[in-house]
């Protein structure tokens, strides 16, 4: 095996010695001997306990959400002038600070604004001017605007450089059928569509356990290198989940998740956080934001999507209760939408948008970031909300102040991160 290969194995071999994590489940560190060989000298194993592990939940609004409807600048007359049919009437908005208001269907988030665990960053986005969804999403997820061939996602790089924490199989999980670009890369990450169905499928629990055992034996006996270590991670994850017993999960504090993908995904995130299996990065997705036609105002197409978003986030925060102290939810979208409504009562691809930051440690109750205004002279290309906060400064602040990442350089290659540009939503 080449030198590179060795390094990959050592980087990816799952460390089973997570004492607190494992003790909770009575797992024996069966493979400690084999895993330990790959542990590079001088690398700390893990912190003493898993309790208090910080969690970042990234919620990607794919399709470019209209930030001007999500958090509407009702104090700006141009907003109403440019959007005769789709502006949210002032009296319907949940006023935040006399200038901005939450969309009425996000009303479920109002309590978090009041208790200062919800902040908004407005006029945020990517400095790259592309109006292609997929390019802009790739740029945001690799955190390298303008560079098309960055091989890995920013959250994967975060895992690659996080030597503080034990790499449990659930450290970074995407809740969906496929791994998003943000999590793709050499650090082990998981895509889980359904916690209950994760692992091997069989008609009964007994046959499933049997199948799991025999495949575990096969891979233990006959696989080598990366395949062996990855399979081992997988079986360990299956075993941990079996003990967590996802079928039995009951949300607490009367939390009611909305039906649909997003509610289900956030419910599973809450479940894994509460199960204390070492989750530190979760990715969830919500689609349906590409509202070119009939986007609606206080009610309608976009309102329905925002309603699902607000209700799902509120249920998630209620479910976790005090646990939100260690959690930050960050919403993001590849770009925003045109200031002016188009000919079909919708909006087209724009530039700046709004992102929400929700969590116990958040400096909430503020709309952060400099507001550039909607005056045509202040707009991007004369038509779109300009960007005053580079998304990397927001991501960087969350990575540093919430997750404790000291060195942001590997996360944002080619970009000099500086705390002076952080929007100031944490710490």
């Amino acid at each position: 095996m080449s030198g590179d290969g060795m390094r990959d194995v050592s980087r990816r071999v799952f460390l089973r010695a997570g004492a607190a994590v494992l003790a909770g489940f009575g797992c024996e560190p069966l493979f400690l001997g084999r895993a330990a060989y790959a542990l590079p000298a001088g690398r700390s194993l893990l912190r003493a306990g898993a309790a208090g592990r910080k969690v970042l939940v990234c919620l990607f609004q794919r399709g470019a959400v209209d930030g001007l409807s999500m958090v509407a600048p009702h104090g700006d007359p141009i907003y109403y002038a440019e959007r005769a049919r789709i502006a949210i009437p002032r009296e319907r908005l949940v006023d935040l600070d006399g200038h901005f208001g939450l969309h009425p269907r996000l009303a479920a988030l109002a309590p978090f604004w009041r208790d200062r665990s919800l902040a908004v960053v407005h006029a945020v986005g990517s400095p790259d001017a592309t109006r292609s969804h997929f390019e802009a999403q790739d740029f945001m997820e690799t955190a390298t605007p303008g560079r098309r061939t960055t091989p890995d996602g920013w959250l994967n790089r975060l895992c690659q450089h996080d030597h503080e924490h034990a790499a449990t199989p659930f450290r970074a999980v995407a809740f969906g059928p496929q791994l998003p670009k943000a999590l793709a890369g050499s650090a082990p990450t998981l895509a889980i569509d359904d916690l209950q169905a994760f692992g091997l499928r069989a008609p009964t629990a007994a046959t499933r356990d049997r199948l799991t055992r025999v495949f575990e034996a096969l891979y233990e006996q006959s696989a080598t290198g990366l395949v062996a270590s990855s399979a081992e991670e997988g079986f360990h994850a299956v075993e941990m989940l079996r003990r967590v017993n996802p079928a039995q999960y009951a949300p607490r504090h009367g939390a009611e998740y909305p039906r649909g993908r997003l509610g289900r995904a956030l419910r599973q995130v809450a479940q894994l956080i509460r199960a204390d299996v070492g989750l530190s990065i979760a990715c969830v997705e919500a689609g349906g934001w590409d509202t070119h036609i009939q986007q609606g105002a206080a009610e309608g197409q976009l309102a329905n999507r925002l309603g699902e978003l607000g209700d799902a986030l509120a249920a998630f925060a209620a479910d976790l209760g005090d646990g939100m102290a260690d959690v930050v939810v960050l919403t993001m979208s590849e770009f925003g939408r045109t200031v002016r409504q188009n000919g079909t009562q919708g909006t087209d691809h724009g530039h700046g948008t709004a992102m929400l930051v929700l969590g116990g440690g958040v400096r909430g109750g503020q709309v952060a970031g400099r507001w550039p205004g909607l005056d045509p002279a202040a707009r991007h290309d004369g038509r779109d909300l300009a960007i005053t906060t580079d998304f990397r400064d927001l991501f960087g602040e969350v990575a540093q102040r919430h997750l404790g990442v000291h060195d942001l350089a590997p996360l944002f290659p080619g970009y000099a991160s500086s705390a002076t540009r952080f929007p100031g939503v944490l710490g």
């Binding site: 098309r148 891979y219 395949v227 036609i293």
Partner: protein
């Protein structure tokens, strides 16, 4: 080079090097094909591995099985123009429907494998487009599953990925059939220069990397009406006006020279200027390649030190592509990529040197380049056998082939491949899917592969029909059963440890359990079948 010649000149040299004909047949069928079908290892070993490889290189294998399957595929009979128009009509209908109902039904167009019930509500053109896209996905499985000329399918997969386009960008999804059938497949064993030129003129590529919109600053079509039409189209589609460097950059970085190929940003800009005017007709008018002289930058350019004098038109683009196709950096970059696909993730220098030498000697004849690689020592070296990890497509198709399972008429097998991490035609970035093992191995996907193996063997894999082969002995003689499974799935190379685990497991199954399919599923989902 001399090793390559030795192979060609001395019949039997290959056999003298190979440890055993069956081992070599197994290796060849795993790398130059999507795995063996039942009995194929033996028949290739019998008639001679060398002869089989030569037959594959000459594309002389029997393809009747595939032809039969292709007969019912409508998209192969559609003209590229009609597909482009179908896209426009479908989009118009879906937008009208969305305006009426205001929401989600249109999402079915976005997702080529969306749910069926949604389809019933779709307007006719949208449904038709979707059916054609489903066929495109089905073809991507049918071809490697049934083709006799397997090497051609391996290379088609390689080149489609090398010149990747993304189905989700605008009309690209409707342009992909023409892209695979007319742009890529005719050239996979032809000249690299022709392949490069075909991709440069392919509507799918021109749209995907925006060259269709790249025009010399300040230029507009001549003629009053043409100008007015062009301006209104530009406003409607909010196209920017000016040079777009996207294609030029990827052409140099990915398609030809490679990121370390010694070019500069000034070269990228000059290449973009040379290719201004290489565009397409609007999709409603067929969406075919067109060179627009009025959009062309007629100034002087310099690329890689070569001067392109002022005043030239489309011909300077062809000259540029000729230059790139025979540039030493291109030979090295693309040759090394071919070696990584066919030989090893980190191919030895000697193998790359052979490929480059053949490229230079034949002016980029890809048949000669591939011949040099697969008849070279490195291809057959023991350390490279079974040393690569199968991609999701390779894994799925090789599993189907191993047991003789048949794809049904849905696109659900393409969905299986997608769930394993390789949604076909949906890699967004121009670099294509990765080739290295590390990029495909992860715990969630390994578990999924085990499920695929078990599901297939049980006859329950969505999209595949499969019944246990009659050759499997009935329950009773467990050793004979596992030996049969070994022959079928692993070419008789199952390790003793794997055999012991499977034997022990099936020996303790309760009476009446489907022992044979269980054993088969374990072998397909097990670690050895993940390698090639």
């Amino acid at each position: 080079m001399h090793r390559f010649l030795a192979c060609l000149l001395l019949p039997g040299a290959l056999h003298a090097q190979a440890p055993a004909a069956r081992d070599s047949a197994w290796h060849a069928l795993n790398r130059l094909a999507f795995g063996p079908t039942p009995g194929l290892v033996d028949s290739v070993a019998r008639t001679g591995v060398r002869r089989w490889v030569e037959q594959q290189l000459a594309e002389r294998a029997d393809d009747r099985m595939l032809r039969d399957r292709e007969r019912g595929i409508e998209v192969l009979r559609r003209s590229p123009e009609s597909m482009a128009r179908l896209f426009v009509e479908a989009r118009r209908e879906v937008q009208a429907m969305r305006r009426e109902r205001g929401d989600t039904a249109a999402a079915a167009l976005e997702d080529p494998v969306a749910r069926r019930d949604m389809l019933r509500d779709l307007p006719e053109e949208a449904r038709e487009l979707r059916e054609r896209i489903v066929e495109t996905q089905r073809l991507a499985i049918l071809r490697p599953r049934y083709a006799g000329n397997q090497l051609r399918e391996v290379l088609a997969d390689f080149w489609l990925n090398h010149f990747n386009v993304f189905a989700g960008k605008g009309p690209v999804r409707a342009l992909i059939p023409a892209y695979t059938e007319r742009t890529i497949r005719p050239h996979v064993l032809g000249r690299f220069r022709d392949l490069l030129l075909a991709t440069a003129r392919a509507p799918a590529m021109l749209v995907y990397l925006d060259n269709a919109q790249s025009i010399a600053p300040g230029s507009e079509p001549g003629g009053l009406i043409a100008r007015r039409v062009w301006r209104s189209e530009r406003m409607a589609e909010r196209r920017s006006s000016g040079i777009n460097e996207n294609y030029a950059r990827e052409l140099l970085e990915l398609h030809t020279l490679g990121v370390d190929g010694g070019y500069t940003q000034a070269d990228v800009q000059a290449v973009a200027r040379i290719l201004t005017g290489w565009s397409i007709e609007p999709p409603q008018r067929g969406g075919q390649f067109v060179y627009r002289d009025w959009a062309h930058d007629r100034g002087e350019k310099v690329v890689l030190g070569e001067r392109f004098p002022a005043g030239r038109g489309e011909d300077e683009g062809e000259r540029l592509l000729d230059l790139l196709a025979m540039h030493p950096a291109t030979m090295k970059h693309v040759g090394a990529k071919l070696c990584a696909r066919l030989v090893a993730d980190d191919p030895p220098d000697g193998c790359i040197d052979d490929a480059v030498a053949a490229w230079r000697r034949t002016n980029g004849d890809l048949r000669a380049v591939v011949t040099a690689i697969v008849l070279g020592d490195d291809f057959w070296a023991p350390q490279h056998r079974g040393a690569k990890f199968k991609s999701p497509l390779e894994y799925t198709v090789s599993a189907l082939r191993a047991v003789g399972a048949e794809p049904d008429t849905s696109a659900r097998l393409a969905l299986v491949v997608a769930r394993l991490g390789q949604p076909l035609y949906q890699h967004t970035a121009p670099d294509g899917y990765p080739e290295r093992s590390d990029d495909w191995v992860n715990s969630g996907m390994l578990l999924q592969r085990m499920n695929v193996g078990v599901g297939l063997a049980a006859g329950k894999l969505p999209g595949a029909t499969f019944a246990l082969p009659a050759t499997l002995p009935p329950a009773g003689d467990l050793r004979a059963l596992v030996a049969q499974v070994d022959t079928l799935v692993l070419g008789g190379r199952m390790t003793a440890r794997t055999r012991d685990v499977i034997l022990q497991e099936i020996a303790t199954l309760p009476a009446g359990a489907p022992i044979a399919s269980y054993a088969l599923g374990l072998a397909i989902g097990g670690p050895e079948f993940q390698r090639q």
